[in-house]
């Protein structure tokens, strides 16, 4: 039944947006972090999404129908790290300051991350609505048995 695989498509969207949100809050939390295990200041991370036909094939074992119009899910293709030069701020006396008194701070723009966070949360909500609409349809077909 193709409606059940629509559920896994929406679930893949929710999980992708959740991963994005995790990285965005990590960016916000670390917007002033000057020390990391890799050395140097924190670097902003972001996700790249790609469509993923396999996410829809959760129930493919039970389906023999042709996959002509199978829905495509989404997954995180990769996590990219910002390679831009860190932002230099003049803070003499800071333990991580260089000889001239400049400290390398992460190049994180809170406005950019907040806007992305809003987008991720809206998209998550849209996927939840899709799941509840599809769930309604499944319930309606089950009601035919009564």
């Amino acid at each position: 039944m193709s409606l059940l695989s629509a559920l896994s498509v929406s679930a893949s969207g929710m999980s992708a947006q959740r991963q994005r949100t995790e990285l965005l809050v990590e960016n916000l939390a670390n917007s002033d972090t000057t020390r990391t295990p890799e050395g140097g200041p924190y670097r902003r991370k972001d996700v790249v999404f790609t469509s993923d036909p396999s996410a829809a094939q959760f129930s493919s074992l039970f389906e023999s129908e042709a996959n002509g119009n199978s829905g495509v899910g989404v997954r995180v293709a990769e996590v990219v790290t910002d390679t831009r030069e860190p932002e230099k701020r003049y803070v003499p006396g800071h333990p991580d300051a260089d000889q001239e008194g400049y400290v390398a701070f992460p190049r994180v723009n809170p406005a950019e991350d907040m806007v992305d966070l809003l987008g991720a949360s809206r998209n998550y909500a849209a996927n939840v609505s899709a799941i509840s609409a599809v769930k309604d349809m499944i319930q309606k077909s089950l009601d035919l048995f009564r």
């Binding site: 498509v9 899709a130 599809v134 349809m137």
Partner: protein
């Protein structure tokens, strides 16, 4: 006899399911670079539907693409999501009414 009652509803409902699935993928991929909106030509598929053949996917025209090549319009998808669910609900009510007519006929035949 049952074919005439249930056949059309079944085709209508399975087309709606197929379309709802595409809407779900469009919503899931609303932020995927390069993803193009997918849909089915509902009227054409309903009129020409062959049993057991899955409907062809088409890309709707006139959807402006964002700079990353993605052309998903969430408002359009939200409308389709609601519309499909409503249509499905209507069709299932009709199908249920028809089935209950047949059931009544069977029951009456049994008692007399």
């Amino acid at each position: 006899m049952f074919q005439g009652v249930a056949g059309n509803f079944e085709r209508y409902m399975s087309l709606l399911s197929a379309r709802q699935k595409l809407v779900a993928s469009n919503i899931a991929n609303a932020d995927t670079p390069g993803y193009r909106t997918q849909d089915i030509d509902f009227r054409a598929e309903f009129e020409s539907a062959v049993d057991g053949e899955s409907p062809a996917t088409v890309e709707p025209k006139d959807l402006p693409a964002k700079p990353d090549g993605n052309n998903v319009n969430l408002d359009r998808e939200a409308r389709l999501l609601a519309e499909n669910a409503l249509r499905f609900s209507i069709a299932s009510s009709f199908a249920r009414a028809d089935l209950s007519t047949i059931r009544t006929a069977l029951q009456e035949g049994k008692t007399s």
